[in-house]
Symmetry: C2
Subunit: 255 residues, 2 copies
């Protein structure tokens, strides 16, 4: 695969899933072949992309733990023709503990992607809000990391832990891994706080921080309740336009 | 201790820390003796309560892993006279993996609380957004569970996993554990979605769901950037009043 982008931040509710879903849809609608891997046991990305993920469906858990080929655990999303998803089923909730005793436990996702017959332009991996073995698998499998950062006070608190974890994985397990993209989300122009967070993040990560900032928007949070990305739910809304701009910037970074 | 309330939800960003901090301050200002245990390696609750938690400070990690007595790892918060906090230091980030091989790994926090000399009216345990060994320790140590639920679409998705985990802990490790409280947070009266989530949660959990609902409010998200709870930062704001009402309801439940 050309670009495998791991989307991670152990701070919860910062817009990891929302960013994966909307950027993946935007890129697929522009003609790229895109795969989303839902590595969060809650299965929010699977739901947002309309992929059935009840118990019994073959999902990413079966790929990791039972060595089911990835091709047998991916499904096409109705959100865009060229968009596929490997869903998170409920079994994934036990995976963190099951992985501990497996050989090559950090390399399982990487191997599954390498052995996959289908070639994608982009693979996005949606991580749970933690730095456990599922996230480590994603960091080992990825060629890039995207960190969504919420424009709120706690945003910077866990960042150094995450940057350290990325550096550790790069040093020991995946030398090609790069922190390529930082995306600022839920910008609220009613508060000074949002502007302060943007300024601080741009100062610390001038190269990686995207120009486009995602606004806090009711249309974005409503879209999944209609089973859609905001790109399809309300194409000309501020949120949809911001995600399309972010997708373009990401495409350019790799061009 | 009279009431040990574990605050958990593996969905990220739902208001666990914000609820622990503001309810603890509200109860302490009404005269109760309150302890907050910050079990999230990000240390957001420690920051919000103004407790130093840089590496080297004795925190809850030392209590769990090095058997430091709890009394030696608690500090008084400037937010209220009767309010104490055992902070999360950076070493807690490695605890999930370190706990796996320890004997009685699920009982460490329970034992630390039982051996503590100081008696509190309330102990609140702020959990990380995951269902790993740190959260299990909190569920074993707790007498009650409070689940904050965000009034957003994904809110109900992970709930059944959490309720199952609570039932498992109750059956195997802590028979006294009760899911006593559900608190609805970030209610946005601009969307129908919020009202739908409230209705559904009240239907499923009529006994446990508090009457007071916390509104989405800029004052709440700004308060930690001033090193304060919203209770002290803007006492008569809608957010502060809602948290004070929630604190009163919680006090009444146990009366
Ligand atoms: N720009 C936005 N404006 C308004 N609401 C948003 C925005 N982005 C995300 N949301 C909403 O905020 C909540 C958190 O977003 P999301 O679930 O994508 O975060 P996450 O980082 O994936 O969370 P988790 O840590 O649980 O995986 C969701 O209810 C989502 O609909
Ligand atoms: N009622 C509210 N109105 C507006 N913003 C809020 C409200 N409650 C919390 N927030 C903000 O939303 C973000 C998430 O809240 P918080 O950190 O308390 O959630 P959490 O569940 O503890 O997150 P995590 O899963 O990372 O531990 C924070 O930036 C916080 O300031
Ligand atoms: Mg998510
Ligand atoms: Mg928290």
């Amino acid at each position: 695969n050309k670009r495998v982008i791991t989307v991670s931040n152990q701070k919860g509710g910062v817009g990891k899933t929302t960013s994966v879903v909307n950027i993946a849809v935007a890129l697929a609608k522009r003609g790229a072949k895109v795969l989303v891997i839902d590595l969060d046991p809650q299965g929010n990305a699977s739901t947002a992309l309309g992929i059935p993920h009840q118990s019994g469906v073959k999902g990413i858990y079966d790929v990791l733990i039972s060595e089911v080929p990835l091709n047998e655990a991916i499904y096409q999303s109705a959100e865009a023709e060229q968009l596929w998803c490997s869903p998170a089923t409920i079994d994934l909730a036990g995976a963190e503990i099951e992985l501990v005793d497996l050989k090559n436990r950090e390399l399982l996702l990487k191997h599954a992607l390498l052995n996959s017959e289908t070639e994608f332009d982009y693979v996005f991996i949606d991580c749970p809000p933690s730095l456990g073995l599922l996230t480590v698998n994603a960091l080992v499998a990825g060629s890039e990391v995207m960190i969504p950062i919420q424009c709120e006070y706690y945003a910077l608190e866990g960042l150094s832990q995450l940057v350290k974890t990325i550096a550790l994985v790069k040093a020991n397990l995946n030398p090609t891994l790069e922190l390529s993209t930082i995306l600022l989300t839920m910008f609220d122009n009613r508060t000074n706080l949002s502007a302060q967070v943007v300024e601080e993040v741009r100062e610390h990560f001038p190269e990686q921080t995207l120009d486009s900032v995602i606004p806090r928007s009711v249309r974005i949070s409503e879209a999944p309740s209609f089973g859609q990305s905001v790109i399809n739910y309300d194409p000309s809304s501020a949120g949809s336009i911001a995600y399309q701009e972010a997708a373009l910037e990401i495409a350019k970074k790799g061009a």
